[in-house]
Amino acid sequence: MRARKAWRPWGVFAWLAGILFALPVLWMVLTSFHSESDAATNPPSLLAPLTLSGYQEFFGAGSGASPWPPLINSASASIGSTVIVLLLAIPAAYALSIKPVRKWSDVLFFFLSTKMLPVVAGTLPIYLFAQFSGLLDNISFLTILYTSMNLPIAVWLMRSFLAEVPVEMLEAAALDGAGLITTLRRVVAPVAMPGIAATSLICFIFSWNELLFARVLTGVVAGTAPVFLTSFVTSQGLFLAKVCAAATVISLPVLAAGFAAQDKLVQGLSLGAVK
């Protein structure tokens, strides 16, 4: 009894902290349903009538610029690069854990070290190469870059999952005369599936969020959603509701995926160190 009473204030603090952290997000969503004039009042008008005009503006009612091409570009670059990352990372992780090559930990650290080099320092050669080979403003080229950006993370994550496959089970499978395919399907896959889910989630989020490469390498044709969002701010007139609607729509896939897979999020963010 005493212990339960003593803990009660912590719950109140936790709720307050949760509300405080979520407040900007909730405010963003609320503002996106307000009219521009209600969005720009001081003090804020909490109970202003709700309207969809911000979303109508975002979907091109006023300016005529449709958000669909950038959204589709973002989706194809994110999904495309996630698929390629998995195709490359899973075999690599296999060669770093289940049947490890010599000096596998050096290779693993090489992958991680590429994440520590500042992306911006390699951007100019990439830009010049794209310009030279006509790949500027090309969504496939951006997909390749996102693949390289996420591949080290994916190799680390997948390796940490595949390392969980018990050696005894691999040996038992070999003794029973199971071929490579059977071993992969029966022994490796059950352990690898949660890892593949965590890897996909994290790779998707990072690609969807990326701004620097997209800004430098794309224009009208291959522009992604984050680039589109930056072009949405105008110097004249009120735009808060519009920007909030845009930010909400563009964040929606990440919010949905992240909330739905909270445990995968932790595994992914910690490169598989936390399961």
């Binding site: 060669a95 650290f109 951007t123 969020n209 430098v216 964040s251 963010l269 936390v274």
Partner: protein, 315 residues
């Protein structure tokens, strides 16, 4: 990460020709990823290194040639670049430290039992799941705006509540530009730290803590001598990963202040030298210096990770 895999036998006892074949069979699945990574992530740095010795400004295409160390001396004497080094260090350290501390506090709160814990956890994760550039726009226009932003709106509302006539209406971004950028980043990264530390807290050996309580240890003693040592590697992991991402931050600086008011960090400054000043040689020299600095920091950081790899972190 298991200690067991570290001892897993490497390459069986095969002799002569078959041995080489077997080794290549082991390497084969690794090669596509390795070659891909080397081509896309390492080759550009080699090119950057070469360009850094060239006199090359895209706005002056005829005047191109070997510059020797000219770009490096230019970079070393460039005050904008030096100030961006300082900004990068301040930004990274302050955001990582503050979000780690807040994340620790929140993780400790979430580790308690209370009603609606799952919901509170979901609310706390929300900031991390807003697209970074959207979050930066949100802070800049919806929260910080001096005329109708939420912060000043809340101030006038509170003042109005107590009948105050002139509520303070600071222009947040121009009076405290660095804090404005840092606050937005701390808001986004605290959930990240909290998630990693919460996983660490939940992997504590419950029996040791129970035993310590039975022996009359105070909650502070339990925290100081049991929880904190256990959390150490999770704190290191969070700090390391947070630094990797925040040192490269571009979105927040680009959006909130456009690098103005002393907030320009290295990624932003190099981006500007490339794409606005078009001085390819000088920007590349700056890039090379940043890469060398990163390698020094990374060697140190990798040692931390490698100790993590050996002491298994697992729930």
């Amino acid at each position: 990460m298991t200690a067991q895999t570290l001892e897993r036998p490497v390459a069986g006892v095969v002799r002569g020709g078959p041995k080489r074949a077997a080794e290549w069979a082991r390497r084969a699945p690794l090669l596509p990823a390795l070659v891909f990574t080397i081509i896309i992530t390492q080759l550009p740095f080699v090119v950057t290194l070469i360009i850094s010795f060239l006199r090359w400004n895209a706005l002056d295409p005829t005047n191109r040639g070997f510059a020797g160390l000219g770009n490096y001396t230019a970079v070393a004497t460039d005050s904008a670049l030096r100030s961006s080094v300082v900004s990068t260090v301040i930004l990274t350290v302050s955001v990582v430290v503050v979000s780690l501390l807040l994340g620790l506090g929140l993780a400790l709160l979430l580790d308690q039992k209370f009603r609606g814990r799952g919901f509170v956890r979901t609310m706390l994760i929300a900031p991390f799941l807003v697209v970074p550039v959207a979050a930066a726009l949100l802070w800049k226009h919806v929260l910080y705006n001096p005329e109708y932003g939420l912060l000043n709106g809340a101030l006038s509302w509170i003042w109005g509540l107590f009948g105050g006539a002139n509520p303070p209406q600071p222009d947040w971004i121009s009076t405290m530009p660095k804090i404005a950028v840092e606050a937005a980043l701390v808001w986004q990264w605290t959930p990240f730290m909290m998630l990693i530390l919460l996983a660490g807290l939940q992997s504590r050996p419950g029996d040791a803590i129970e035993a310590a309580r039975m022996d009359g240890a105070t909650p502070w003693q339990v925290f100081r001598y049991l929880t904190l040592p256990h959390l150490r590697q999770y704190l290191e992991l969070g700090g390391l990963l947070g630094s990797i991402y925040i040192v490269q931050n571009f979105d927040a600086v680009f959006t909130i202040t456009s690098g103005g008011l002393g907030t320009a960090n290295l990624p932003y400054t190099i981006y500007q030298t490339f794409f606005q000043a078009h001085d390819y040689g000088q920007a590349s020299a700056a890039g090379v210096i940043v890469v060398i600095a990163s390698i020094i920091i990374a060697t140190f950081a990798l040692r931390v990770v490698s100790s993590l790899l050996r002491n298994e972190v697992k729930r």
